[in-house]
Amino acid sequence: MKYFNYIVLIFVCVLFSCRKDVNVKLPEYQVKLVVEGSIETGSPAVVLLSYSIPYFGEFDFTTPEKSFVKEAFVTVSDGVMVDTLKALDPSVGYIFIGSKINGVEGRMYTLKVKVNNEEVSVQSTILPKIALDSLYFKWEQDSLGFIWQHFKEPSGLGNNYRWFSKRLNTKYTDAFFAAPLFSVFDDKFVDGKNFDFSYDRGPQPNDVQKWRDDPNRSYYRVGDTVAVKFCHIGKAEYDFWYTYYQNKASNSNPFSAPTNIKSMFVNNEKVFGAFVAYSPYFDTIVIKPKP
């Protein structure tokens, strides 16, 4: 469907259309608190807090740090203990990290965020770990290619997954596990099936621009050692990521419906985001030269 829309668009634009810069007067914008929270087995919670920015508003793009939330009271509890998250750099804010609670499989966690005397909360559960069968590499060009995974999906509908990778070799060492576009899937089409799948390499969240500028951004290179993190996640968490990627993909393309992301803060116009409990399975592959 998307193909069709794009093709028609191209066709129409080539034949007739004309483009011009315009000044758009957008309706008044309600700035939202953006919550990017996660916890995973064996690690403390990490929550990133920022404010959304109006498109053509007063915001000065040369000072991006002004969108960061500097002061916030952030807690994560497992029902017994409460962990108060601290800003990584109190002069900047934005990134808040826990210290007392590390994620445990099967537990439900409640995130509470209080900014400017307004408190919101959201819950997420670390589900049982689901393992991949094996990893292998397929060369697309001499030194470039994709990582494939062989997966036997467990029977029974209702499983959702998110996939990450991280290069561990010396030449390109990634700081974070990175997720590519549409790095989530559910078992609706593949329930109980044996199948292989692969993803592009995703951008590092601390330097997306570098990834964008890399002509081989989607590939892995021969010589890379790559860690794969394959996470079992819940339905609301999947919906959030899926609609997040839909939103990214549509990117104001008029032929697709404008997708508002399914925030885990339901029916709240002032707060947007998710708190995702990941249940990761890790595996590593060393990419060898093409035989």
Binding site: I7, C18, D21, S50, Y55, F61, A236, K248, F272
Partner: protein, 818 residues
């Protein structure tokens, strides 16, 4: 409210039963035809001058009226035709065949009909416009292609959604709420390539009638409007060929008698050739391998068995085909979509007072998408198929009543979006082809009744009954979206049933012969819905029946109007106000995908809401003289409210239009030259744009504003055209004179000089130059935002770009006829 109307109807029925039992009248009935080609004429007025009793011919050109014994002058009139009069001595019931001649010398006013028609003031029908093709063909056309849908969008209360959008919107209703009938067959997608052209080939069309409100009971199944299009029957006197060559398409129509006065046919075809013309240019660009074309085919046959029986068969088939082949990546796609309709109709006249029509209709709309790469195959299909049977009776008990009654049954087969994929030998489990089946039945009765000299009433009642039947699998879900129950229905097993009564009432009160007030109330049920995924209307939109989840759309419309004609009916004017409610409207939920068929029902992807609209329409039309045309202006509001959209708040519909104005002018300077001009202005569409953005996983994402919270700039445009028709007679005469002179010089006999054969004498042609968007207005098609640089580096720059479809576009068409 409903009960009162209902009871009222029976009281009225009883009253007129008593009335016509007492009547002692004879009837005059018959049909009205065009003398030159035998086409039956719709909406011609037939009246008896002495007692001022008259009727308009129905859709098949049939009329029936009653009068006491006596001597009368029967008059038959139709705009553009020479007035027909005949003396009648009425001693017994009579049957007539009236042939009226098209006024070829329309410009020399003396011989034209003594008086224009005043049907708009006299009839009980309000909110309706009847256009004939002669009128439509004079209006400037986009790329020279005469277009019915574009023309009706120039009328007040009818809107389009801008260049490049299919469908039209009537009084705040959606594009799926229009009943589009081509010779009584439903046309589900009336546009080619995103609305640039309609599927109706102007050469094959006889008449177009649009009803925006006060929908009579014989029409149903849609909330907003009826667009009733009749194809030509075919010249039953002479063979005739019409054609046209334009810059993007060519047309050819052939018609003629099979048996003179008894049977005739018409076939008409059209094909675009952008694919061929643009190919050399495209091949050099990045879009090599792209090709698009559409074609239309219309055919109709009719046979007159005798005065009482006539048979019609009409068919339409049209297709858009889009191809794309990328030689480098071995990616191929083919996207065909289109309609097919066929209808078989039998007119039978039981007696001068009772006319009947039986119709069997097949209608099909299909959208396919096929993509191939290496050994990977991907297919999407969706569509709707109808088998439709109708039986209508038209009874004229006396000159004060016109009773219509009928039944209608449709068997629908819906194919909501189905996806299949294959890689080599492996077929992916994307679900079986899911089809939804339903019975859609209706029964109606209506009476158009002259209560007094001044008061006329059209009352009707329609009852609809809709059943979704198996095979069907229902997946029930809990609040988390997990399936907690599955229900299987066997073939023909009832899944769900809906029904409803639809009262219709229209009143006309004549203040004087030139002015009247009209009021109407209609209640409509619609058992099918069109689900639109994108913010633009596309052929990918999916038709869905009512299911357990999707309730029937219910519409109520109240309209009030004042109608007045001036200057011997040369100027028609009207003012109408309306208020309309629409319940059980559907929209896709956020993030829903139409292909979610696996372990899911398509209707789980919808959210439900309601709509309401109100407005005022002003219309001035001049239909006679050298200058003709109209001015229309609409002030209107269209609202929607959905539980899951915009946090449940009221919002304006995409095609909400505060102001909408159009000016249409045609000037017949002389027999050789005529000119046309169109100017339109409309408040901008509403749309959803990103209002802001936010940082997530290190990159920026759009934060869309509330649905339809952005208003585009106004749409306005002017089109002009000029048509030159060379004077054939003069030319032939000149040539003849030249020959005579030459022969005389050569000393030859000049008595038997023939300059042209018979067909050449009949030959006529014309050249049309039209210019679309004369002052090159950049009307918005869509707006997209651009971002450069990186947010976290502090180098971000944002901008907005507007894409407009059509700059100034001149086009040239050559039309011919022989």
């Amino acid at each position: 409210m409903l009960l009162v109307n209902f009871r009222g109807l029976y009281t009225f029925l009883l009253v007129f039963y008593l009335q016509f039992v007492n009547a002692q009248n004879f009837s005059i009935s018959g049909s009205v035809y065009d003398a030159s080609n035998g086409e039956s004429l719709i909406g011609a007025t037939v009246y008896l001058k002495e007692i001022r009793v008259g009727v308009a011919t129905n859709q098949y050109g049939f009329f029936s009226l009653n009068a006491p014994k006596g001597k009368y002058t029967l008059v038959c009139q139709l705009t553009g035709y020479i007035t027909y009069t005949q003396s009648i001595q009425l001693n017994s019931s009579q049957s007539l065949t009236i042939k009226i001649a098209f006024d070829e010398k329309q410009l020399e006013e003396v011989e034209v009909t003594t008086k224009a028609l005043d049907e708009n003031v006299k009839s009980s029908q309000m909110s309706s416009v009847n256009l004939d093709m002669v009128e439509i063909k004079k209006i400037p056309a986009f790329m020279g292609e005469v277009d019915i849908l574009k023309t009706i969008q120039l009328l007040p209360g009818v809107k389009n959604a801008g260049d490049g959008n299919t469908g039209f919107y009537v009084r705040g209703g959606g594009p799926d709420q229009n009943l589009i009938l081509l010779d009584e067959a439903n046309v589900y997608n009336a546009s080619h390539l995103m609305g640039f052209f309609s599927v109706f080939n102007g050469d094959a069309i006889k008449n177009v009638n649009l009803i925006k409100g006060g929908m009579p009971a014989q029409y149903g199944g849609r909330l907003s409007a009826v667009l009733d299009i009749n194809m030509k029957e075919g010249n039953n006197q002479n063979f005739q060929v019409d054609g046209g060559i334009g810059i993007i398409a060519s047309r050819l129509t052939i018609q003629g008698p099979i048996i003179k006065n008894k049977a005739s046919f018409i076939v008409s075809a059209r094909r675009t050739y952008v694919d061929i013309l643009a190919k050399p240019w495209l091949d050099k660009s990045d879009f090599k391998g792209t090709s698009y074309y559409f074609y239309d085919f219309n055919a109709k046959f009719n046979y007159i068995f005798n005065e009482k029986n006539r048979l019609f068969f009409s068919t339409y088939h049209g297709k858009d085909i889009f191809d794309f082949t990328d030689g480098e990546s071995d990616f191929r796609t083919r996207i065909p979509w289109g309609n097919t309709t066929a209808s078989l109709r039998w007119n039978h006249i039981f007696n001068p007072k009772l006319f009947s029509n039986a119709t069997a209709v097949f209608s099909n709309y299909n959208f396919n998408f096929e993509a191939f790469q290496d050994d990977f195959e991907f297919k999407i299909m969706s569509g709707i198929r109808d088998f439709n049977f109708k039986y209508d009776l038209n009874y004229f008990p006396n000159s004060r009543h016109n009773i219509k009654a009928g039944v209608n049954y449709i068997y629908h087969i819906f194919t909501p979006t189905n996806v299949s994929a294959k890689q080599g030998e492996t077929t992916f489990d994307l679900g079986k082809v899911i089809r939804l089946y339903s019975h859609d039945a209706a029964i109606y009765i209506s009476d158009d009744w002259d209560l007094t000299q001044n008061l006329k009433m059209n009352m009707g009642l329609r009852y609809g009954n809709f059943t979704q039947i198996g095979p069907f699998t229902r997946y029930k879900k809990d609040m988390f979206g997990n399936i907690n129950d599955t229900v299987f229905y066997k073939a023909n097993e009832k899944v769900v049933n809906y029904d409803g009564l639809e009262p219709r009432l229209a009143l006309r009160y004549s203040i004087n012969p030139r002015a009247s007030i009209k009021a109407s109330y209609t209640r409509n049920f619609q058992y099918i819905h069109l689900a639109t995924i994108s913010s633009l209307s596309l052929p990918t939109d999916v038709w869905m029946p009512c299911t357990e989840e999707i309730k029937p759309q219910i519409g109520n419309q109240y309209a009030l109007g004042y109608f007045q004609n001036f200057g011997d009916n040369i100027f028609e004017t009207s003012v109408e106000v309306y208020y309309k409610t629409m319940d059980n409207q559907i929209e896709y939920k956020e993030g829903a995908e139409p292909s979610a068929n696996v372990y899911d029902n398509p209707d789980n992807a919808f959210t439900y809401g309601r709509g309401w609209a109100y407005g005022a329409e002003f219309f001035v039309k001049k239909s006679k003289g050298k200058f003709t045309g109209w001015i229309g202006y609409t002030l209107s509001w269209a609202w929607r409210q959905f539980k899951e959209i915009n946090y449940g708040r009221d919002f304006l519909a995409k095609y909400d239009r505060r102001h909408d104005a159009s000016l249409v002018l045609t000037y017949d300077m002389n027999k050789q030259w005529n000119f046309g001009a169109v100017w339109v202005y409309a408040t901008g569409n509403r749309g959803t744009l990103p209002n802001g953005f936010f940082l997530y996983e290190g990159s920026l994402s759009h934060d869309y504003g509330l649905r339809n919270s952005y208003q585009f700039v106004p749409y306005h445009r002017m089109d002009l055209n000029a048509t030159f028709t060379p004077n054939r007679e003069k030319k032939l005469e000149r040539r003849k004179q030249k020959l005579i002179e030459q022969y005389k010089l050569e000393g030859k006999d000049t008595t038997n000089i023939q300059v042209a054969k018979k067909w050449a004498k009949k030959f006529s042609n014309s050249f049309t130059l039209s210019v679309f968007n004369v002052y090159n207005r950049y009307n918005p098609y869509f707006i997209y935002f651009t971002r450069e640089g990186d947010f976290l580096n502090g180098t971000l720059k944002v901008g907005a770009k507007q894409v407009s479809l059509f700059p100034i576009l001149p086009s040239f068409t050559w039309n011919f006829k022989f």
